[in-house]
Assembly symmetry: C2
Homo-oligomer: 115 residues x 2
DNA sequence: ATTTAATATTTAGTATTGCTAGGTGATTAC
DNA sequence: GTAATCACCTAGCAATACTAAATATTAAAT
C-alpha cells in the first residue's frame, strides 16, 4: 500500500461502509468494489482480497445474508448480499459511534491545543 | 475492551493524537494518559500498554525525542518527550490526511445513498 | 510507621483487520 | 481466439490496540 497511516485509518471503517452500502441496497460483492472506488474518488480502491473477507465476517456475524442468484441470461450464479435486521441495527449503531468518534478526534485537532 | 468496532477505529488515530499532543508541548509519557482521557471525556482512556509502544514507535521513526529529566524535588527521573522537525512535518501531514479521510467517509454516510 | 494510592516506566503476548499476491472460471469486446 | 472484464475465493503478512502483568518512586491515608 502507499501509506501505512492511511491503511490504519481504514480499520473498522471499510467494514462500516460495506455494511452501509448493503443496507442501502442489496448488492453483489464485486459491485461493491466499484461503488467504493467511485464514490470515494479512488481513495477506497480495494482489491478483492480486502473485500471478500469483510463480507464473510459480516455474514458470519449475521449482519448480512447471501443468496446465489442467476443473473438474466447468465449461466454463472452471483452472490447477492442483503442486510439482516441485526445488520441494520448494527449499521445505525456504528454510524452513531463513528460520528462521536470523529468529533472526539477533532477536539484534539482544533486550536493550538495548549495545555 | 468494550467494543471491537471502536477499538479498530482508533488504529492510527491514537498515534496521530499522541504526536499532536507532543508537538503542542513537551510531555511525559504518563501525563499523556490523563490528557487523552480528560480531553476525550473518557473515550480515549488508554492503559500504559497501549501508550508506551506508541511512544517507542514514534521515537524509532524519529518523530519524537526523549530526554531523561530530573523533576524538581524528585529523585526519580522521568522521560520527557518532545517533537523533532520530522515529527512536526509528519504531524501536519497526518492531520491533512485525516481531514480528507473523514470527509471521504462522510460522503458514504450522508443521505440515503441510493446508487 | 505501615499501608495504600498514585506516579512513572517497561514488556510479553493476543486479536483484529487491511494488505499483497496469487488462484479459478464465465462473460464481453476486439 | 485472445484479451479484458466480471465474479468469486484463499493463504499468509503487517500493523496496531488490547490485556495483563512487573518494577520502582512518591504522596496520602490510617
Amino acid at each position: 500500500m502507499e501509506d501505512r497511516f492511511l491503511q490504519q485509518l481504514k480499520k473498522g471503517v471499510l467494514e462500516m461502509l460495506v455494511l452501509k452500502l448493503i443496507c442501502a441496497e442489496p448488492t453483489y460483492g464485486y459491485a461493491l468494489l466499484s461503488k467504493l472506488k467511485k464514490r470515494s474518488n479512488g481513495r477506497f480502491a480495494l482489491k478483492e482480497g480486502t473485500l471478500y473477507p469483510i463480507l464473510y465476517r459480516l455474514e458470519d456475524e449475521g449482519m448480512i445474508r447471501a443468496t446465489w442468484s442467476q443473473g438474466e441470461g447468465r449461466t454463472a450464479p452471483k452472490k447477492l448480499y442483503e442486510a439482516t435486521e441485526t445488520g441494520r441495527e448494527e449499521n445505525l449503531r456504528r454510524q452513531v459511534l463513528w460520528r462521536d468518534f470523529e468529533e472526539t478526534v477533532d477536539i484534539f485537532l482544533e486550536g493550538d491545543n495548549q495545555r
